[in-house]
């Protein structure tokens, strides 16, 4: 973890998080005091109040908790998915599940995160984790 930014860095956590994404790395926080993971990034732990938060790379695996298909005209880019994904680390984030038709995204579906770079700016997207889906209980 030595190369990872820390809370003592010159920037606020939002900038640190985005800078990592822009380098293709998805980081979340983990509280040193209570061990809970934290997302979105905070300056202190929302669970216990500790200011000792480490940056960690999550497994990237998660489960679709809720989903919607935003309807958009085809010439404007067509319909797209907006999902809430629960990471296996126990935190939730809004994202988009790609690699499957928007209406094919299902709650409970296992998904894997990746960082997509667009004009130098990184964002977390997900794709279905088919193999795991088949072996999940």
């Amino acid at each position: 973890m030595a190369q990872e930014p820390t809370m003592a860095a010159a920037n606020g956590v939002q900038a640190i998080h985005q800078a990592a994404l822009d380098e293709g790395r998805f980081l979340i926080q983990r509280c040193v005091t209570c061990s809970k993971h934290v997302y979105f990034p905070r300056e202190h732990c929302p669970h216990c109040g500790s200011v000792a938060l480490d940056w960690v790379a999550p497994s990237g695996q998660g489960t679709v908790y809720a989903m919607t298909t935003v309807r958009r005209k085809p010439d404007a880019g067509g319909d797209y998915n907006v999902s809430l994904v629960d990471l296996d680390e126990g935190v939730r984030l809004m994202s988009r599940v790609d690699g499957v038709a928007p209406l094919g995204v299902k709650i409970g579906q296992r998904v894997q995160a990746r960082v997509q770079l667009s004009e130098g700016r990184g964002m977390v997207l997900f794709a279905p984790l088919q193999a795991l889906e088949k072996t999940a209980p």
Binding site: T68, R71, M94
Partner: protein
Amino acid sequence: MSDTSLKALRGSAAIAGVATFGCGETPGFTDMELLARAAVAAVADAGLKMSDIDGVCTASASATMWAMPVVEYLGLRPRYIDSTMLGGSSFIAHLLPAMYALQAGQCKAVLVCYGSAQRSAQFGRREIGAARRWMDPQPYEAPYEPMQPLSSYALAASRHMFEFGTTRRQLAEVAVAARQWAGLNPEAFMREPMSIDDVLAARMVSDPLSVRDCCLVTDGGGAYVLVRADRARDLPKKPVYVLGNATAVWNRQISSMHDLTVTAASQSGREAYAMAGLSAKDMGVVQLYDAFTINTLLFLEDLGFCKKGEAGSFVENGGIAPGGHLPVNTNGGGLSCVHPGMYGIFALIEAVRQLRGDAGARQVLGAVTALAHGNGGTLSSQATAILGLEAAL
């Protein structure tokens, strides 16, 4: 020193006047003009003069210092000012602090007022949304382009359907019930009959919510006047006492909500009922902020009218429509009556009109208690008010 414990505040203040103005489409009016027309009418309804008003509560979805132009425009010198902005629940959340202020003698007559020309304004919903991306950024959600606030409610609906088997037809029951009530209300903006099949066939916007699962975008102003109970008894209109009020916020972003099927209304409702010494079964008429059809289901559950997960069956077969087992959103709600950006004050005004017996063809007979519930943001803020006539004191 006055007793300002919650128990002592129960019934200590009453709504003495209410008014709406310009509900629907009123091109040519500004937010402030709609607010002012409603404010003046509410003060007159209370049997007071504008010079009697020494407390002001207001909020705006766009102006961040809104209380100042409101005070200036109305020509007041208030001793009590509350411009807490919690989205659409604000005007119900304004009750309890105003009750404290009245009880403490800080002020004698509080005017709560709102106006929005959202439908007719050049600077409308789209422009406000664009401005908010800079003024009120949500950097962890905005990159995924949720259609806000709609998509957040759609996400909650998707989860409710997944966990409890709630159906689009049950959501449509909420919209149809609202439309049937609106048909009895000459002030409602959309009154033509609508069927469940009409809702199911409507244009999908953000699954599972169609355009008919969404509230209206209208113009409108609303206002009410709150005074101490002893003063209300000397004013012309039948006092509507505030028996309980509580506000709860757990999150701003839908992605920060722990359980999309349980809102902070479960807290605001519990605390408002406790202050009132009443429960859901005691409520004669119910007004729930229905920005989207899923709201009504969530709030019926969180406010104790049915068990968690059972609101879908609760609303089936016209359960909350005229003639159903619980009268809900009797003005037609935000879905069919009025929704100028923020609806909360209109839910409260309808509750007062019902208790006074002023509701015309939609009058619920014999109601002595009412619940008015406000919601704000994306299921973010919740404020519950329990109101009652003298018989409920």
